[in-house]
């Protein structure tokens, strides 16, 4: 299950090793017993480099937000290590951890719930200074807030407005400004543009990119939209049911996809080009993501995998197998959990027993061979 911890590189500001977060399912009359676990994050290893962006994609419920919450310290990990600048967070004292929290900040998806509706914008952004008084001397706070407004492209005269007086894009900027107030090194963006209109999305993405350039921030950019991730990310990790199934640079993952799930995900993204309509390969996954409280055995993806039956079909020399038949899945997929292993380049990892079947940009038909 675990991956060998990669050698600490000087660039790495945040490293996650074998991180696990289970939510207990409790039950009981007087005293609650734990009767099961929701395996929200189930052994994730990642590394985030200074000034770079790691894109994290995956379907709903795959544990992306949970991972983000663990990283910023809102949730305590069940096991695993989080290293900030090579230092293990769990080994730190309270005060140190508080200081650390400051360094990792979060940008939220929903610009409507992310801001306290009863606080003026300036106060929202400046709250960090009330919490960390040493960050900015007392007299300079108002100015610091105005500078932050300016930095994220908001009118500094609007410090006294309330969130509902801002548009969605502007609110997202406020959220970013709030995160930047504590001078973080790492920004975890949990679907920061999902709730925005296409026309506004671009503004926020551009802003994030500019800030990265200016401030040297490292981003963990969580998104549904593979196109957005491709646009912004240097490296990409794909999550499925609590674990990373593929990891690599943007080009590797998008162009030399090594996991059937990633492939399916990408083929599901519609292209804004009617001329491509029937010229693209379409892999439509059946069903929904299984419940993380009772994940499938072996490879977590085997219940929905489009490749496995093809592989199995090839193995059994049978021409017409349907994906819906679980029997058509190779036994190894059902029993063994594939490890995240290098595929080609050492930093391109995928967790699939049949990853080699996808070495080229293979079509389905080719894979079956």
């Amino acid at each position: 299950m675990g991956n060998p911890p990669s050698a600490p590189s000087p660039d790495v500001v945040l490293e996650v090793q074998d991180l696990v977060k289970y939510y207990p399912v409790k039950r009981g009359v007087v005293f609650k017993r734990t009767v099961g676990q929701v395996r929200a994050v189930d052994g994730v290893s990642l590394a985030l480099r200074r000034g770079r962006t790691l894109g994290l994609v995956g379907e709903s419920g795959s544990g992306k937000s949970t991972l983000a919450k663990v990283l910023v310290g809102v949730e305590q990990p069940t096991s695993g290590r989080i290293l900030v600048d090579g230092i293990d967070v769990s080994a730190m004292k309270r005060a140190q951890r508080r200081e650390l929290r400051r360094r990792i900040q979060l940008v939220f998806q929903d610009p409507y719930t992310a801001l306290n509706p009863r606080m003026p914008a300036g106060e929202i952004v400046g709250e960090a200074y009330a919490i960390h008084p040493r960050l900015v001397p007392k007299g300079g706070r108002a100015r610091a807030v105005r500078e932050l407004f300016d930095l994220v492209g908001l009118n500094p005269d609007h410090v006294n407005r309330y969130p509902h007086q801002f548009s969605g894009g502007q609110r997202q900027r406020l959220g970013i400004a709030r995160a930047l107030a504590v001078k973080p090194q790492i920004l975890i963006c949990d679907e920061p543009v999902s709730a925005l209109d296409v026309s506004i999305q671009g503004q926020v993405i551009n802003l994030l990119e500019r800030l990265q350039d200016e401030l040297g921030l490292a981003y963990l950019f969580i998104a549904h939209d593979l196109a957005v991730v491709r646009h912004i990310a240097d490296e990409v990790a794909v999550m499925y049911l609590g674990s990373v199934v593929e990891r690599g640079t943007e080009t590797e993952v998008y162009e030399q996809t090594r996991h059937p799930y990633t492939r399916a995900l990408m083929s599901a993204v519609p292209l804004p080009d009617p001329s491509m309509r029937h010229r693209r390969e379409e892999i439509v996954l059946s069903g929904d993501v299984p419940s993380p409280a009772a994940p499938p055995s072996g490879c977590r993806f085997h219940t929905r995998c489009w490749l496995a039956p093809l592989v199995a079909g090839a193995a059994s020399d049978s021409a017409d197998v349907t994906i819906d038949e679980p029997a058509a899945v190779p036994a190894v997929c059902r029993t063994d959990r594939p490890e995240l292993l290098p595929q080609g380049p050492p930093d391109h990892l995928a967790a699939c027993h049949f990853a080699e079947k996808l070495t080229e940009n293979t079509t389905r038909a080719e894979a079956a061979r």
């Binding site: 379907e59 709903s60 548009s167 296409v198 026309s199 999305q201 671009g202 519609p270 292209l271 439509v284």
Partner: protein
């Protein structure tokens, strides 16, 4: 004559702050077996116009000062509200965006699927149950017999949306209006649902009005497209043409703003500013404050009417022909 034709539709809301003209002179038409996509930013009047078609606007505050909605020769707006709804129930189905909210939490899915059949066609309980199962099968919900007995909250997001679609299909409508049916869903599920919709449409030769702001989805399913901005249709036409040679600067900007899966660009094009406040629309063309092509005439003159374009379709821009000639939006984006 098209199956469903909307002409010069206007919808206003009387609010405490003033009158909001949410839809202003919208016209479109769909034929059986055709897919019309209505795209536009949030608040551009997509939902309101389709609610007007269905007779579902609350009045007050809504009112329809002008326009006609003709379905197979019947002007729906001349009917009483009761007749209007009954008529739409029979001929037009509607799928809403948030299926969890749109389904009644206290009834089983099966009950809701066949509610209209039972209430309006006097179907027996047994027939209703059979029909519910058929419908669930139709939308490819596995274990239909069991699922029909479950409540909406026991369904996953994709399942709910399927149930929603099944419900809209229950009365065998000739037109299906789908208001952002996949916005809340994962891409994988979105692909499932869109595939399903396309299949059903083809099978039944239904007209489909797809409301969305996802230009990718539009590109993959629509035949014709209506682009809305601030309550007005700013461009209409064949999907191919609109994507390759947009005639309205807004359409073009929209297309340029989308990040693309198939190649990586460093800097995204954006549409500056924000959608206009419906209460205080700018004078002249509503898009002019955000338009890179705007000239004095756009600010001063009355908003441009929707004009026929040389190669078919229409656009509401004084410079439509020039814009169209500018070339493919994608090429520009890469520059």
């Amino acid at each position: 004559m098209p199956l469903l034709q909307v002409r010069d539709l206007a919808v206003e809301f009387v609010t405490a702050d003033g009158v909001v003209r949410a839809v202003d002179g919208l016209s479109y038409a769909v034929d059986a077996g055709q897919t019309l996509a209505i795209v536009g930013e949030s608040g551009s009047g997509k939902s309101v116009s389709s609610l007007a078609v269905m007779g579902l606007l609350q009045s007050p505050p809504a009112r329809i000062p002008s326009g006609s909605i003709t379905f197979a020769g019947t002007d729906l707006l001349t009917l009483s509200r009761k007749q209007h709804r009954a008529f739409c129930g029979e001929h037009i189905g509607m799928v809403f965006q948030d299926a969890l909210a749109a389904l009644n939490p206290v009834y089983t899915v099966g009950w809701q699927l066949t509610e209209a059949l039972r209430a309006r066609h006097g179907l027996t309980r047994r027939d209703a149950r059979r029909r519910a199962m058929e419908l669930l099968d139709l939308v490819q919900v596995p274990a239909a017999r069991q699922r029909a007995r479950e409540y909406p909250h026991q369904f996953s997001g994709g399942m709910r949306q399927r149930a929603m679609i099944a419900m809209a299909l229950a009365m065998d409508p000739e037109v299906l209006i789908a208001d952002e049916p996949t916005t809340a869903l994962d891409v994988t599920v979105q692909a499932q649902i869109m595939k399903l919709l396309a299949e059903i449409q083809a099978e039944r030769d239904m007209a489909l009005i797809l409301i969305t702001h996802d230009l990718g989805v539009v590109a993959s399913v629509a035949d014709t497209v209506t682009v809305m901005y601030a309550g007005k249709a700013v461009e209409q036409g064949e999907v191919q043409r609109i994507y390759s040679r947009p005639a309205h600067p807004y359409t073009r900007a929209l297309l340029r703003a989308i990040p693309r899966l198939d190649h990586k660009g460093r800097q995204l094009d954006v549409i500056p500013g924000r959608p206009p406040d419906p209460l205080h629309l700018p004078d002249g063309c509503a898009f002019h404050p955000r338009c890179d092509r705007a000239e004095d005439v756009c600010r001063a003159a009355p908003p441009p009417p929707l004009a026929e374009l040389p190669g078919g379709g229409s656009a509401a821009c004084y410079f439509a022909v020039e814009v169209m000639a500018d070339g493919k939006p994608a090429e520009r984006a890469e520059s």
